[in-house]
Each structure stands twice: as structure tokens, then as C-alpha cells.
Symmetry: C2
Subunit: 269 residues, 2 copies
């Protein structure tokens, strides 16, 4: 009987993953706090992963979360309700056809959305339209080109490159993080200020070893295995070796880094 051990292990794992989620939440969102009564648009809330954090760091702001997918929106609504937050309103809407009057919101928040868009500048302009003059837009994106690890591995690089290519073919850009500044400037925002947020993981940070290296980044890359092989971007042996090499960085002498970029800019008044 190993049930006791397994349960114990699961509890440790659950705590690690929760610690990891809180660590990432602090890294990305701790310095975003909208004042009481401020109206905030979260553009593209998906299943609400960031909405929960947003509602927690700005508990008295009035958040409107939109997404084009009714299914995602329902999941987000459930997730936010379960978190206990009561300051979020959900609405199904297309980012390209925002159902809001000009200058409707004090602030706009957009996280892990621009990477999926063929024309992020057009969407940023549309978001600027519904933002009040003097209001801020906050944009957060990853950039897979920042993934850096020890031991280094050509096959891991190749597996990540396959993911980047697939996202580009789907019209997105998995390397968009580094471009937030020029995108915001081109979309007409002022006073853009970008701050990079690196997740650095080695064995001294156990909450991130399992949670970030294995279950976040490596799991994300592994998720495109079939599609990448089918598209002829990489063969199965090389892809699997790349995934093994990423897992290898979670060993006691391994290191893994990934950088998110957070930008805040202002709609000119």
C-alpha cells in the first residue's frame, strides 16, 4: 500500500503548484492596483486565469472582462466566483468590434492576448478608443526567445522553435514580449514604460522547479508535439529529446529562465 505516500506527495505537489501560481502572480501583477471605483476593461480574459489576480490586486475597482468565446467566458465567470471576487462583470465581445462608447474606461488591461493576434496594433488602437484620455493601458506578454537553460540543448531549442513557428503560422507571435514598446508607440500611446520580469529557477526555488519548468513551460511545448510533427517542423525523436532536455533542467544542477514583459502606457489627453 502506497496510498498514504501518494496522498502525501499529492498534497506537497498541490502546495508547490499553488506556491508557484502565487509567485508568478506576484511577479506579474503585484504592482497593478487600480483605485476604488476605477473602471477597468480586461480585454480577452480567456478562462479567467489573470482575471482572478486582477480582482485580487484591485478589489474595489469595477472590472469588465470580455472574451469572444462564450465557453471561456463561462469558465472565467465560474473561476472568479469561486475566488470570492464580486467586482467583475463579464461580457461576450470581439476585440475588433468593442461594444463600448469612446472613452468608456479609466484603464485597460490585456494579458497574454496580443501574442495570438495577427494585427496587435489594430487591437491596441481599438482599446485606446474606449480608454479615457489620461487613462492607462497595461499589457503583459511572454517571449519564448527568452527561454534559457542549463544544460543547454539543441533539441530543446528545436522543440521551442517548432512551437514558435506554429504560433506564427496561426497568425500570432510567441516572441512578442520584446516588441511591446514599439507596438504601443505605433498604436498611439504615450509614456510607454516596459519592465521585464524574469522567472529564474534553480534548485534553491523548489516551488518553481516542478511548477514552472515542468508543468508550465515544458508542458506547453510538449502540447504541440503532434501538430509540430504533422507539420514536418521536427521529427518525433528530436522533439522528444528536446522535451527530455527541458525536463533535465529541473534536476538539482539545472537552471531555467523565462522572461515576461509588462508595459504600461497612457492614452494622450
Amino acid at each position: 500500500m502506497t496510498t498514504g505516500y501518494v496522498h502525501g506527495y499529492d498534497a506537497i505537489e498541490a502546495r508547490r503548484l499553488n506556491d508557484q501560481a502565487r509567485t508568478l502572480e506576484a511577479l506579474l501583477h503585484a504592482d497593478t492596483a487600480y483605485p476604488a471605483g476605477a473602471t477597468v476593461l480586461e480585454a480577452g480574459c480567456g478562462v479567467g486565469a489573470q482575471t482572478v489576480a486582477l480582482a485580487r490586486t484591485s478589489p474595489e475597482a469595477r472590472i469588465t472582462a470580455i472574451d469572444v468565446s462564450a465557453g471561456s467566458l463561462a469558465a472565467a465567470e465560474r473561476r472568479v466566483r469561486e475566488s470570492g471576487a464580486t467586482n467583475v462583470t463579464f461580457r461576450q465581445a470581439d476585440l475588433f468590434v468593442l461594444p463600448f462608447a469612446d472613452a468608456s474606461f479609466d484603464h485597460v488591461f490585456v494579458c497574454f492576448v496580443l501574442e495570438h493576434l495577427a494585427d496587435p496594433v489594430a487591437v491596441l488602437r481599438a482599446l485606446g478608443r474606449v480608454l479615457k484620455p489620461g487613462g492607462t493601458i497595461t499589457a503583459i506578454e511572454g517571449d519564448h526567445g527568452t527561454a534559457l537553460f542549463h544544460p543547454a540543448s539543441d533539441t530543446a531549442d528545436a522543440a521551442i522553435a517548432a512551437l514558435v513557428t506554429l504560433q506564427r503560422r496561426a497568425g500570432g507571435d510567441a516572441l512578442i514580449g520584446r516588441r511591446l514598446y514599439p507596438l504601443l508607440v505605433e498604436a498611439g500611446f504615450a509614456a510607454a514604460r516596459v519592465s521585464p520580469r524574469m522567472v529564474y529557477v534553480d534548485a534553491s526555488r523548489p516551488e518553481l522547479v516542478e511548477g514552472f519548468i515542468r508543468r508550465t513551460f515544458t508542458a506547453m511545448v510538449a502540447g504541440v508535439r503532434e501538430e509540430a510533427i504533422r507539420a514536418g517542423l521536427i521529427d518525433a525523436g528530436r522533439f522528444d529529446a528536446g522535451i527530455a532536455a527541458l525536463h533535465r533542467t529541473a534536476e538539482p544542477d539545472g537552471v531555467f529562465c523565462y522572461t515576461f514583459f509588462k508595459a504600461v502606457a497612457v492614452r494622450p489627453g
Copy 2:
């Protein structure tokens, strides 16, 4: 006559470069402050670029700076004297044959040195020997694999890769920053803690555009042009295109990132 303009431009440039040096100094060294009377060994001071910062942030520590090169040491001594610092003693010494008794120093500081060594662990062990139990070692290194820019460029990547290869052939490792944690653990240090320091540059940070992108990073890569071409690592056209692409990132819509890694660890007591 353009003399007035040229002088004005030079003055602006000098100020920018000084601002850049101070920005980098703050990024790398601001959190290193040894107490009054503490004995600190700077291992491999070179021409004293970091020694000046060290003496400034720990004005009452007693710093011993060593280097194997008498010429570098003389330059470092001059530089430190000109900075006004009086708490540094210089001594010519080989890192592999340290002329100090066991447990001679309260702290050890080593910056931009390990990247040039074929066996950094052996040197770290040697430094551990002269460190008192409970004393700290601080190590700072860059990692050229962290260079990230917009617009992205294959030729810039190739020029950087040539530099990395040359450094490897010379016995060093230009990608050592990411490895500080396992190196310190392997050398027997305890409680190693690494913090990455990213230099992020876009047009909103003019002090770094010229000073860091052009005169620090790009100049460093450009410096190996002849050697890289002679070694057959890259042809002249491709190398020059890579350098042009790096300069391109200093334009108003460009972005450039580079990460240094700073580690602090303890000699077990």
C-alpha cells in the same frame, strides 16, 4: 564651422555614457555593501572597472584587488586613485596560486572573471580556501545567450555565436551566467542565491541606447570581427550585416535586452 555642435554633441555623449555606467553600476553593485573593517578580496580586478564601484559601495571595507597582469593592475591602481578611493590595496597574483593563508578574508568578490577560465570550479574552490567560514562569495557574470533584440536578426545571432565560439576555443564560456548556481554548489559553497539583472533598453531610456547597445554590446561583438573571419566562423558580409542589425536595434522602434547574473553564496562554517 560645426565645432560648437560637435562639442555640444560630445558633451551630451559623455553625459550619456556616464549615465549608462552609473545605471549599470547600480544594477550590478548597489546591493553589495560590505561593512566597515571587513576584508574583501577582489579576484581578477583587470583594469579596475568593477574595483571603483566596489570601493564606492563599500567605502569602509578593506579591499585587496589582485590580478595576474602587472599592466592591468597598474591601470586599475591609477583608475582607483583617480576615483578618490583609498581603501584598495593591489597585489599581483595568480588566481590558481593565491598568496594568502586559509581563511584570510571576510568576503570574496569576483566579477567578469569566471567566463574566461577553463576550470571555474577549481578557481572557486581556491577562493573558498582563503574565505573565512561563514564568509560570502559574490560572483557576477554575463551570458551572451540572453542577448535579445527587436528587430530580430539571423545575422546578428550569427555574429554573436561567432564570439561565443571564439571564447570557448580560448577556454572560456560566454554563456556562463546561467551556470553560476551549479558552479558554486559544485565548488562547495552553501546557500547560493542567484538574482538575474536584465538591462532592458528602448527609446525611453536614452542613456542606455547609445551607451549599452552601441558602445558596450555591439562594440564588444564588433571587436572580434577579424578573428572570427580568420577562424572561418563567419564571412565578412554576414558578420558586417550582423553588426548593422545590432546597431539597428538602437533606432527609436528598437529594443535590446541583456542579462547579467549575480550570485551570493556562503563558505560553510
